[in-house]
């Protein structure tokens, strides 16, 4: 899991990176799960999604803040987004898809076909 962090930030040994946790909404239906991950400031290039050891690893990297002068008031956090989920074994990891729009990452995690509830007609 740490491979995601070091490869993305390219930190030298001893460099401290601060992570914070993005807010996530989770929905489920018969086909699978949908995650909505709030990562304002992150564009498509800044998103990292990996599946490793049955875990879903989500990362978001924001470009350095623009030069706007002195800060008068600060509320936004500075750092990298990161969150890890254990994957339900019914999810077909090869079919995970994602898109990002206006800082909102939507990840769709479909369940494997064999696992979906099916009606069986009796001949």
């Amino acid at each position: 899991m740490s491979t995601l962090a070091t490869s993305k930030t390219g930190g030298e040994v001893g460099q401290r990176v601060e992570y914070f946790t993005p807010r996530v909404d989770l929905h489920q239906d018969a086909d699978g799960y949908t995650l909505e991950v709030e990562m304002p400031g992150v564009n498509k290039q800044g998103v990292e999604i990996a599946v490793e050891d049955g875990k879903l690893i989500l990362g978001g990297h924001r470009p350095l803040a623009g030069e706007f002068g002195q800060s008068v008031h600060r509320e936004r956090k500075v750092g990298e987004y990161r969150r890890v989920f254990d994957l339900d074994p019914s999810i077909d990891a090869t079919k995970i898809s994602a898109r990002v729009e206006q800082g909102l990452l939507t990840v769709h995690l479909p369940k494997a076909e064999a696992v979906k509830p099916r009606k069986i007609t009796v001949g």
């Binding site: 002068g69 008031h73 206006q102």
Partner: protein
């Protein structure tokens, strides 16, 4: 029925000064020096930053997953007000919502600007979920060099 189990991320490394800075943040937000208390029935408070340089005041607000039409920016005297509504898409979905951490609904943030600005030149962009409002300062507010002649 199995569900996705949650794992909290590994604890980020913290420097010894982090506690101090977060205490200061707590005090700042309690005093609300640059912004007035938000009026929002849903209690949603999008995070914002205010910057100032010689020529501009810049305000950035975190508003992920919205459309330009969903918010309103207005300026009255020296108060900038950003308001809007983020609608939830849950009604469109079938199936239940497992976990909801994101905030939805109406929001409003008002900021008393640290300098007067040229209202007609205010610009705003919305990109990657961040609304950036650039307010050029009025001429009299800009720092000026005054040449002092010695006789």
């Amino acid at each position: 029925m199995s569900i996705i189990r949650y794992r909290t991320p590994e604890l980020p490394t913290w420097s010894p000064f982090d506690r101090l800075s977060s205490l200061r943040d707590l005090l700042d937000s309690a005093f609300q020096l640059a912004s007035s208390a938000p009026e929002s029935t849903s209690g949603w408070v999008p995070a914002l930053d205010v910057f100032e340089d010689e020529n501009n005041i810049t305000v950035q607000v975190e508003l992920a997953g919205m459309k330009k039409e969903d918010f309103d920016i207005s300026l009255q005297d020296d108060v900038l007000t950003i308001s809007g509504e983020r609608k939830s898409e849950s009604e469109k979905r079938e199936g239940e919502s497992f976990r909801s951490e994101r905030s939805f609904g109406a929001f409003s943030r008002s900021i008393t600007l640290p300098s007067p600005v040229k209202a007609e030149e205010v610009k705003a962009t919305y990109e990657d979920g961040v609304l950036t409002v650039t307010l050029p300062k009025a001429e009299e507010a800009k720092p000026k060099k005054i040449q002092v002649n010695l006789n």
